[in-house]
């Protein structure tokens, strides 16, 4: 069976500085992979490279997304192909209504996939229903996109967008940080609702707690731009108990 995402020997730099130093990773359809690792190890960099941010320069390696060469695609083409990135720091856009933005995005994606634009009524119904499940109030839907949203509100809103855009692969970059305990459960349930045999997830997190709700198939530990270890859910528990010291230390030795 072909992988949904196949990363091989990926090297990338920012500002001329090497950050990713040979990452390989394969996600099959239906799988949830988690990436953990110390601050600054390159987790967000990997997420941005996947989504095609221009500040991140790929110097070696390849990424296949289904049958396609991901690195040859523009960011919007990757989105059209079904890649979604829930960002660690969602961006504020003043004057652009939250729902309005979501509808523009959904229609852009639908158009690229050869579907008709969604009707205003149908869109509202879907968005409101999903928002309700995620505990997002009507008022937040009407506000300007992410402007003045609390940390937790921004993260929930990312999940709302994900739910409507229905990606094939969702990369969640620390979606759990900044969430209170209840919000964490709500967001995790949002992700679990979307798990399906076709869809894959790459969940970046620092906390074992999230992985108790979203149980991963595979856990990777990234240290200094490389994946140092790969295992099952028990690896996350081990990390929680022992910290990264062991990995970092082994690397330094």
């Amino acid at each position: 069976m072909t992988a949904l995402l196949e990363i091989e020997n990926l090297h990338a730099r920012v500002d001329g500085k090497p950050i990713l130093k040979g990452v390989s990773l394969s996600i099959a359809p239906g799988e949830v992979h988690a990436i953990m690792g110390p601050n600054g190890s390159g987790k967000s960099t990997l997420a941005f490279v996947l989504a095609g941010h221009e500040a991140y320069e790929v110097t070696d390696g390849s990424i296949r997304f289904g049958d396609e060469d991901l690195l040859a695609m523009e960011p919007e083409e990757r989105a059209h192909a079904g890649l979604f990135l829930a960002m660690q720091y969602p961006v504020e856009i003043p004057g652009v209504g939250n729902l309005y933005f979501l509808r523009q995005a959904l229609n852009a994606v639908r158009k690229a996939r050869g579907l008709e634009e969604i009707s205003a009524a149908e869109f509202l119904r879907k968005a409101r229903e999903e928002a309700r499940r995620l505990g997002i109030g009507e008022e937040l839907l009407k506000r300007d996109l992410n402007v003045g949203f609390s940390g937790g509100e921004k993260k929930r809103n990312e999940i709302l967008q994900m739910a409507l855009l229905e990606p094939r692969l969702a990369v969640l970059d620390e979606t759990d940080s900044g969430l209170d305990i209840d919000a964490l459960r709500v967001v995790a349930e949002g992700v679990n609702r979307m798990r399906s045999p076709e869809r894959g997830f790459l969940v970046i997190t620092h906390y074992q707690r999230l992985l108790e709700y979203i149980v991963p198939d595979v856990v990777h530990v990234m240290v200094d731009g490389r994946i140092r270890r790969t295992g099952g859910p028990e690896l996350a528990r081990e990390l929680e108990a022992r910290g990264y010291e062991a990995f970092v230390g082994r690397l330094a030795a």
Partner: protein
Amino acid sequence: MATAIETVREVTASEYKYGFTTPVEEERFPPGLNEDVVRRLSERKGEPAWLTEWRLAAFRRWQQMEMPDWQKVKFPPIDFQAISYFAAPKQKVRPKSLDEIDPEIRRTYDKLGIPIREQEILAGVAVDYVFDSVSVATTFKKKLEELGIIFCSISEAVREHPELVRKYLGSVVPPGDNFFAALNSAVFSDGSFVYVPKGVRCPMELSTYFRINAAGTGQFERTLIIADEGSYVSYLEGCTAPMRDEHQLHAAVVELIALDDAEIKYSTVQNWYPGDKEGRGGIYNFVTKRGLCRGRRSKISWTQVETGSAITWKYPSCILQGDDSVGEFYSVAVTNHHQQADTGTKMIHIGKRTRSRIVSKGIAAGRSDNTYRGLVRVLKSAEGARNHTQCDSLLIGEHCGAHTIPYIEVANRSARCEHEATTSKISEDQLFYCRQRGISEEDAVALIVNGFCREVMNELPMEFAVEAKKLLGISLEGSVG
């Protein structure tokens, strides 16, 4: 992969889709300007002696005046003797009905998307069509007449309502007000006239559509709008011109007068040809627009979306004379490539408890320069006057400039003026966020810019808002990526 900012340098001029010319037979004066030309112009229009004299007086004033040079825009000197001061499609008499209009002119307006017809698309909007120097058609006149509203070309108003024209013409912008106002007063060719009688709320938007067609001409139109006590009118102005390598001059004067409890809402979407991406050609847009809130509790509100012209130089202003009168100025000015805009407003507070509000949104891309220049003057008499000014600038790329120059003069200690200004950039992260959600870069720029301007766009009448929104996107095409 180049960054968005880098590729700003490689901007390509987006097509100016209104850039065609119309093959009509035109009557026109040879280039040049002197007293004789002014007399002939007045005679050609069959004007009464008082108006001929008025023009000549203005012309003499103009000859004493110097071209102003205090504004931030730069351009080579204009040769006023090289311009033709009258160009009109040949027609013996102004067509009696809309069916008699020259088919070529009709086609022009069809192509511009504003067909000369009293039909569904523009139902609810009465339009005066100005083609080069003359008004060629006005729709919905009958319907308006039933309410006592006068909406016609200013030439017709001179003939049919001389007492109104004589009373108000030049009462807000005197002929000697400034260089271009003096020039306009001497040679104005046509424009629109509106009078709304006491207590009448004009049931439809009134609109003028200006089109420069002939080469080597200037357009000097004159608009006069009078809202009598307790009346209301909303007026829209739109404009385009063919693409030409030469610069063309547009020097209009607009005067608004609001009596007790009257309200005038004046909206402009200005899309004159801006020149090509190297800065060749384009319209010089030097306009004097001023409203007088003469009556108590009167209100004048200017809304403008400025996307065109090589150089724009205009300051729609309000003189708040009546007690409790209100002036508003909402502006979006977009400059791209080599465009230069120096625009803003003046709010002159004379009456007690007069209030003014200024919201200016400047967007600069390419190598353009965008200046907000605003004056808030509170006279000693303006007890309890209030002003709030907000100026926001948005930069796209690194080779453009945005400048905010506020002048505040307050002679009454009970007055309160507030000024806020911000400058921001479209960030790569904002663009990336939009693109990650599937929105193309071009659409993302339009989305972000429209968001930035939302407060002003909300002030536009519905019919105009949609158009203006599209226009913003088009003017910034090629400004990133």
